[in-house]
């Protein structure tokens, strides 16, 4: 675990985007992706998250997982701010196709069109998809 980890002065900061495409439960992608994001925060890089396709469901308020005996990890998205991860992008088309609006989401996000998210992806050094 890192506390006062000293990285080489002037080390290049890379732009990392984590793309979340899958529903929060049913597969382990969403939870594992979130853990990677939390770990990445320790390395002081430029981190952003994009939510597209069923990935937008990860941010929906009021998730109740008792019936499927899974831990509801959605509150963890609200902890990201404390990890200095504040760039969360949600694709408008994916949201609208699923009947969701910004009010349905549990954190503040930037809504973007598919084309805008594509542009953001093109600007990254690393794009990792879950």
């Amino acid at each position: 675990m890192s506390d006062d980890m000293d990285f080489e002065e002037g080390g290049a900061v890379k732009k990392f985007m984590f793309v979340n495409r899958k529903a929060p439960y049913g597969t382990v992608y969403a939870l594992e992706g979130l853990e990677v994001v939390l770990i990445s925060a320790a390395f002081d890089q430029d981190v952003s998250l994009a939510f597209v396709d069923d990935g937008v469901f990860q941010l929906v308020k009021g998730q109740k997982t008792d019936g499927i005996e899974m831990k509801n990890f959605s509150p963890t998205f609200r902890a990201l701010e404390g990890y200095d991860i504040e760039k969360l992008y949600v694709e408008r088309e994916s949201m609208e196709a699923r009947g969701l609006t910004e009010d349905d989401l549990l954190v503040d996000v930037q809504i973007m069109s598919a084309a805008e998210i594509g542009d953001m992806m093109a600007q990254q050094d690393v794009v990792i998809s879950f």
Binding site: M1, S2, F73, R78
Partner: protein, 110 residues
């Protein structure tokens, strides 16, 4: 592994973290602290209670950096620093305090 607290057997993993987080209570904390050779003071409890509230709200154990910052915000800068927290929990406020607080090991903690 298992430890006995007030006649109840409490299961822990190979590193001493609780297997069932719901097993935690203050007596369990005292027993866990004993295993770490720590006598819990009010200052320790302040951090332990903070961690439990944090976990309750966000469902994760915070990274040390995040914990330090958050403690500073809530309890003041004289407590939100590494020295203060490492004095209380010499083997790392993340790992050791989380264990006593009955939380899982912080994500990313090796």
């Amino acid at each position: 592994m298992a430890m006995d607290v007030n006649g109840v057997s409490i299961e822990t993993d190979e590193e001493g973290f609780l297997v069932n987080l719901s097993d935690w209570n203050p007596d369990v904390a005292l027993e866990l602290a004993k295993g770490e050779s720590i006598d819990l003071t009010d200052q320790h409890w302040e951090v332990i209670n903070f961690l439990r509230e944090y976990y309750d709200e966000y469902q994760i154990a915070p990274a040390v950096r995040v914990l330090t910052k958050a403690i500073g915000k809530k309890l003041g800068p004289d407590k939100g620093n590494s020295k203060y927290l490492y004095d209380l929990f010499p083997y790392g406020p993340g790992k050791q305090a989380c264990k006593i607080a009955g939380l899982p090991k912080p994500t990313g903690c090796i």
